[in-house]
């Protein structure tokens, strides 16, 4: 059992120290290099949005936070001294901005109603083409499963959710999470453990470990 679990884990411990690529990218950003700006967006746009979305559970709020994060990164890149990796630096800004957004939400927007029927999650023309590899049933099943997980994730306490999201969605190591959240390594372990426990409790009876759906042939009556 333990061996099978270990085989599922492909993550390795990561160092939080910046690599040369981060330092070069930061220096290029300071010099106003256009490819550096492109590269930064290409590298961090998706993970920062994913992190913000899972921390806030609202696509429009996540979009606002992502813009604020990149604005701060662009304007404060001079303050990046390379004492941590660029990723943890940006993720720390993201977590702080998500906190600010949540505070602002509870103060001002908890009674607002959005005008948009659906979040803008358009992927362009390519999203309109059918996926030849998956059936509509699989698609709906995945959508419902994702909705259940998102709902459960949004219902657990914020500190636990942050730790779980940074670990399982952002893919940070425990040391990096400790650096992003400015907490000790033991607290990180505790929060991830309790976050996963809380998440599992929310999903009990609603989402169990998948069993294969088998369609048994039956003779025609």
């Amino acid at each position: 059992m333990a061996a099978s679990i270990l085989h599922l884990n492909s993550d390795q411990n990561r160092e939080t120290a910046p690599d040369w690529e981060d330092l070069e990218l930061a220096e290029a950003l300071r010099q106003g290099s256009e490819p550096a700006y492109e590269k930064l967006l290409e590298r961090f746009q998706q993970p920062v949005y994913g992190l913000a979305l899972r921390l806030l559970s609202d696509p429009s709020d996540a979009c606002d936070v992502v813009q604020e994060v990149f604005l701060k990164v662009f304007r404060n890149i001079d303050h990046f001294r390379g004492q941590s990796s660029l990723k943890t630096w940006i993720y720390r800004i993201t977590v702080n901005e998500a906190h600010n957004q949540q505070r602002w939400f509870f103060r001002h927007r908890n009674r607002e109603i959005g005008l948009e029927d659906e979040p803008d999650d358009a992927r362009g023309a390519a999203a309109a083409f059918p996926d030849a590899g998956r059936s509509p049933f699989d698609y709906v099943l995945d959508q419902e499963k994702r909705a259940l997980i998102e709902e459960a994730l949004a219902r657990i306490n914020s500190p636990f959710r942050e730790a779980v999201v940074l670990r399982d969605i952002a893919g940070l190591s425990y040391e990096e999470i400790a650096e992003v959240l400015q907490i000790s390594l033991g607290t990180v372990k505790s929060r991830i453990l309790r976050g996963r426990e809380a998440l599992r409790e929310k999903l009990v009876g609603r989402l169990e470990p998948l069993t294969a759906l088998r369609l048994m042939p039956k003779p025609a009556e």
Binding site: M1, Q46, Q67
Partner: protein, 226 residues
């Protein structure tokens, strides 16, 4: 290692975040403990389903906004590198503002100008400029007073020259006889002549002014010299 210790470390264990020795101990315990193995399996399942949420793409609109933001910030940063870069940025911004202001006006302005020139060229031959030059006011520096209409009678003397002073209204204000042949009869004749004669006043830049007229009476004719 006890079950409680394993349960506290199970998340870190499945994340391979435990130190080597502790990881080995937990692994050995999990291999021999059905309950802890089940717990590890549940944590692993929970971790995997959360990982499925990781693959979320940002909206296209957000990606566009981020590119615009990056472009603005890069331009702002470049403008702060040196004074020359700042001046160049200001000039480019001023040029952009002028272009944005002028471009909407350029086509209407050019069209209006060309239309006005075309219409003026077409309509110019139809214009008529008429000027009545019969009663034109002389605008020379000075024009002398003159006799508009002379009395139908003269004087009886053989030849007499009279100098008349004409005011702005064309009236005689004074007269004198240069030849010195003044007489009561001549004065009466001159008075009759003044009474029935009309004069045009002298002008200075078109405005009536005082002037003198020399009138020479002969037996058969009258000669007037301004």
């Amino acid at each position: 290692m006890t079950c409680e210790e394993v349960q506290n470390s199970v998340s870190a264990f499945i994340d391979r975040q435990l130190p080597g020795e502790e990881s080995v101990l937990v692994s050995l315990h999990v291999a021999g403990c059905r309950r802890c193995a089940h717990l590890a399996e549940r944590h692993n399942y929970t971790r995997n389903i959360v990982r499925e949420l990781a693959n979320v793409q940002p909206p296209v609109r957000l990606a566009f906004k981020l590119r615009v933001l990056a472009s603005h910030e890069r331009r702002r940063r470049l403008s702060q590198i040196s004074f020359a870069a700042r001046v160049r940025t200001w000039s480019e911004e001023a040029r952009l503002v002028i272009n944005n202001l002028m471009k909407p006006l350029a086509l209407p302005f050019a069209g209006g100008l060309l239309s006005a020139l075309f219409l003026f060229g077409v309509l110019l031959p139809t214009f008529r400029f008429e000027r009545d030059i019969t009663n034109d006011v002389p605008t020379a520096f000075y024009t002398q007073a003159s006799v508009a209409e002379m009395a139908p009678f003269g004087v009886n003397d053989a030849e007499t020259i009279v100098e008349l002073t004409i005011d702005q209204r064309g009236r005689i204000t004074a007269y004198c006889v240069p030849n010195g042949q003044d007489s009561p009869q001549l004065d009466a004749n001159i008075a009759n002549m003044m009474w029935y004669s009309t004069f045009t006043p002298a002008t200075w830049f078109g405005q009536p002014t005082l002037g003198k007229v020399l009138v020479s009476f002969r037996r058969s004719r009258i000669i007037v010299r301004g």
